[in-house]
Symmetry: C2
Subunit: 291 residues, 2 copies
């Protein structure tokens, strides 16, 4: 005979076993699902390549969080070396892949920081004109964000050398020109592919250049590479080309050998010539060899 | 009182509970490990891009399995369209990324088939000479593999148009030249960046050309783009450059307008000029527009 106490305990234990069995079935199903998920992720037939890792920082100046993708050189972890940094405007996946491929082909080692856009017109444009209207041009704020927030953040977190390169294309190429004139000490190398401005922006950039070139020393040792195409569908009247021809004369007469400067036009290369980024990175790397 | 039978049953059930608890602990640890693994794989901060999917086929001709990475156009699944195919020799990740970026920039839609090497010298070289010694040159076998095995496999499995392009660089660029002369009907477009041969291979290619150019019609509508660099460290005496200058004269006099042919040299671009693949793809795409 089972006494009342033991009977209750037995029943309770029996219920426990049933509950445990149910839980185990659920866990079993979960385990199988998880294993399928893992095998799907790890053993899929897809071929993927890692192009970097996510990073971000909150900018007080812009009052928003800015997303980054950072690519470290392959041997970053294995070495104790410090690396130059390439700041990539319009930091899309394709631009980052482009930059990685260019660095790979030129055998250059860079930490690449791709900066995703939030409000591109606001950040890239220092002005608004009928040729390109921008509601709220705030390039000076974006430049402060780079100098006061992003660069210190990157240089604290990663092993960086003191060499900084910025690259923009099209609208962000115009920003690179603005940054070169407004804060030449911030980067060592400025690459603007499909940079330049329309005719109605000429006065603004003339004034900015005049002011900037008064302090020649701040440009000492800087490198500037700008490029565009004579068949740019966004520049049908070759106004951007003309702005850069004029600027080339101006910078040569004002700064002479103070800066390494190259303006390259491509005959039939559409908007943002494919080879221009490679040629720009080659130009700045040759500069390093000279030193 | 508990009778003997019930006592045994109780004890057995108690042991069962203990065993189940141990098993559950193990499962718990497994679950946590799996969750960590999954979160690491799926929610890591890594940024990856899919560049294609794995494929492979067994080649009776080469008596080995050949690995491929195939990239389908973004809208492949959504459309019922057939696409041209770009066969990429030296099918490394970087060459595939390069090809994808070039296609993206030129707004070209291709199925890209990257063919991984097994024995590169054997497959790419039709001959062995003191300038480049190959133990067992079997380019004719590799060409048969392409024509009789790979292309039928790809054209059965994927929605392909009839337009086929082959691209090689350096040693595989030499193979592209060989393929153009040995089997001009196999591809519509041949791109050899850093193609050409050393002086001691000249006789072989002269004989191959003489034989090939007897049947002018087999070259009808073909496009050939070859490129190299005047500063190629692997061609210090410019023998490869000279071979292509001579070949250019020969093909123009033998075939005239029968083929679209371009030979481009780059001044200071090292081995395999960065822009050459883009320029080659641009050249073949302009050919399509002409038609």
């Amino acid at each position: 005979m089972i006494d009342y106490y033991d009977d209750r305990r037995y029943l309770a234990d029996a219920k426990k076993i049933i509950r445990i069995k149910v839980v185990m079935k659920i866990i079993g199903v979960l385990l199988v699902s998880l294993l399928m998920l893992v095998s799907n992720v790890a053993y899929s037939q897809d071929v993927t390549v890692k192009i970097g890792h996510k990073d971000s920082l909150y900018s007080s100046i812009l009052d928003e969080t800015r997303n980054l993708v950072v690519t470290l050189p392959d041997d970053y972890e294995a070495t104790g070396k410090s690396y130059p940094v390439l700041y990539l405007l319009d930091g899309t996946e394709n631009n980052l892949i482009d930059a990685r491929l260019v660095a790979y082909n030129l055998k250059l080692e860079f930490i690449i920081v791709a900066i995703a856009n939030t409000n591109r017109d606001r950040d890239m444009m220092p002005l608004s004109r009928p040729s390109y209207k921008v509601e709220n041009p705030q390039a000076h704020h974006f430049l402060s964000f780079l100098g006061e927030e992003l660069i210190p953040y990157i240089e604290t977190k990663y092993r960086t050398s003191e060499e900084r390169t910025i690259r923009g294309r099209s609208l962000s190429g115009l920003f690179v020109m603005y940054a070169f004139l407004a804060k030449p000490e911030l980067f060592n190398n400025y690459i603007g592919t499909c940079a330049g401005w329309f005719a109605d922006m000429g006065d603004y950039f003339t004034e900015l250049s005049n002011k900037a070139f008064k302090d020649k020393n701040s440009f000492n040792g800087r490198t500037l590479f700008v490029a565009n195409s004579l068949s740019d569908p966004l520049d049908p009247k070759q106004e951007i080309h003309q702005s850069l021809v004029d600027f080339s004369k101006k910078i040569k007469s004002a700064l002479g050998d103070q800066v390494r400067f190259k303006y390259k036009t491509y005959e039939n290369a559409g908007h943002v010539p494919f080879a221009a980024f490679y040629d720009g990175m080659k130009f700045i790397s040759e500069s390093e060899k000279d030193e």
